[in-house]
């Protein structure tokens, strides 16, 4: 089902080939303002490739990405001013303090009234006492909070989160999920969220896109997908879909 509100992200026919391998194959979807969309799928399904193309660090072989109607291929800076991201594999520079990291990225994103915004982010993410600490010495949960503070610093209209709660404890993960959901609602930001934690996806996401071998296999609200496919929960549905997709490949080999 397409989103009903203002579209903040439009991926149209995204395709990425590496040599003979199609990592992403003609993927189209949209994310609306205030909507949280889960992008899930087995390892190697193409999730991170899609995120990289949306972030403009990987050029699609075909298709295009529009952020708030702005084509990232032609107006990269303007599109990325409205975007931000946090990814488990991209920590903030550990040799800078939390406050220094926020100031540098605030300058890069052109954040207005930066000092006040940094104070707000430090408060919102419970980082005030860590402001002078080098980011690399913080715990996993604290580092994740610092990355999310950076990701929300410029009040992005599109927030990309690649496994934001990986390797953190359930309590911190719950807290972080709540903050992201609050941010999306308050700022009317669209969120594209990849995760392997189906409980998390079912709890937070308004819509889910099941990806396998570079293609979207299923799309819909978590409850609707579970009901339509007669699965006990999203995790079972995920396993079922992933196995269905793997079987032909295994048989062929």
């Amino acid at each position: 089902m397409p989103p009903s509100g203002d579209v903040v992200l439009s991926a149209e026919g995204l395709t990425k080939s590496f040599g003979g391998l199609k990592a992403v194959d003609d993927v189209s979807f949209q994310v609306a303002a205030g909507e949280i969309v889960g992008l899930v799928g087995p390892n190697g399904a193409g999730k991170t490739t899609i995120i990289s193309m949306i972030l403009g660090v990987l050029k699609p072989t075909a298709g295009r990405v529009l952020v708030g109607g702005i084509d990232i291929a032609t107006r990269r800076s303007q599109a990325l001013e409205r975007t931000n991201f946090a990814a488990v594999y991209t920590p903030l520079p550990g040799n800078l303090t939390v406050e220094q990291n926020l100031r540098i990225f605030g300058l890069i994103y052109g954040v207005k009234d930066l000092a006040a915004r940094i104070e707000q982010m430090l408060r919102d993410f419970d980082l005030v006492r860590h402001r002078k600490a080098k980011t690399g010495v913080l715990s996993s949960g604290e580092q994740t909070r610092a990355e999310l503070a950076k990701a929300m610093l410029n009040r992005p209209k599109l927030l990309l989160l690649d496994e934001p709660t990986a390797s953190i404890d359930p309590s911190t993960a719950r807290d972080i999920r709540a903050r992201i959901a609050d941010f999306a609602a308050a700022e009317q930001a669209g969120v594209l969220w990849t995760s392997h934690n189906m409980y998390e996806v079912a709890e937070v996401c308004d819509r889910v896109l099941f990806l396998s071998r570079g293609r979207i296999l299923l799309a819909g609200a978590p409850d609707t997908l579970i009901r339509e496919h007669g699965a006990p929960n999203l995790e079972e549905l995920f396993v079922e879909v992933a196995h269905e997709q793997l079987r032909p490949a295994e048989e062929a080999s």
Partner: protein, 265 residues
């Protein structure tokens, strides 16, 4: 290009130095050691002969080190992003290539000026080097070496971006590889023909030939210096084109997105 973005790239390096002052060491200590070593050598040679070795050799060492520091300032600032795996954070932002390169160049200018100040202090204060000996020609000397250093720094960052962090060891020796061809310590006429042919397309050659011409009382070879300056500007344009090409290659192949492991091949 936006000033706040350029400032962010330069500010990051300032924060790093402030947080770890030991980073100042390579900016100042090694050049100071070079000046002390060559200072005593030239003082000794001055006593043996009547030739002005201080202006010729010590001045040459100082200016050649300056070029190396400019290059190193740029590449080191770039390496901070490599070492902290900050590539995706940096390039998935509104930062443009021009913003990023300008930030690196400003960082290179500031760090190399620190080194230059230390060198001048030692060379003039302790060993009696006088830049007045070069007169107005000092301006094109510094310009050529400075622009060449920036170009080498940008080419160095392009090599590392293209071939991965392990290729860092390919770029540090670049100034040493060039030094025999540019005649830092001897006239180009000393070189065999094929080396002289290479020297003619290397901008710093004209600086060191010019220095020797001035100290030898043959005047300033302005035409040669103008040609060297033109070459240096061409290098800069070429270096920016190389970086842009490598960056586009990185976008096409996913190099930036995957840039974290040792990928030199």
């Amino acid at each position: 290009m936006r000033a706040s973005r350029v400032a962010a790239v330069a500010l990051r390096y300032f924060y790093l130095v402030r947080g770890s002052p030991v980073r100042l060491l390579p900016m100042i200590a090694w050049v100071a050691i070079d000046i002390v070593l060559w200072g005593f050598i030239t003082r000794y040679l001055d006593r043996l002969t009547r030739f002005d070795f201080v202006s010729t050799l010590l001045g040459a060492v100082l200016l050649w080190d300056f070029l190396g520091r400019v290059m190193q300032g740029i590449t080191t600032a770039f390496f901070e992003d490599v070492w902290s795996r900050n590539f995706l954070n940096i390039f998935a932002t509104p930062l443009t290539i021009a913003d990023y390169l300008a930030g690196l160049v400003i960082t290179g200018i500031v760090t190399s000026l620190l080194g230059l100040a230390a060198m001048i202090l030692l060379a003039t204060g302790v060993f009696g080097l006088s830049f007045f000996a070069y007169g107005l020609a000092l301006a094109p000397f510094v310009f050529v070496l400075f622009v060449t250093g920036i170009s080498l720094g940008i080419v160095g960052t392009s090599i590392v971006m293209r071939f991965g962090p392990a290729s860092e060891w390919l770029i540090w020796p670049i100034p040493s590889l060039l030094s025999p061809f540019v005649g830092v310590f001897y006239p180009l006429a000393t070189l065999p023909g094929w080396m002289q042919a290479i020297s003619r397309v290397l901008a710093p050659s004209y600086v060191f030939e010019g220095m020797r011409s001035i100290v030898g009382g043959r005047g300033v070879p302005w035409n040669q210096l103008a040609f060297g300056s033109g070459l240096a500007v061409l290098y800069l344009v070429g270096a920016c084109l190389v970086f842009t090409g490598v960056y586009r290659y990185a976008l096409r192949t996913g190099l930036i997105a995957r840039y974290s492991a040792e990928t030199a091949s």
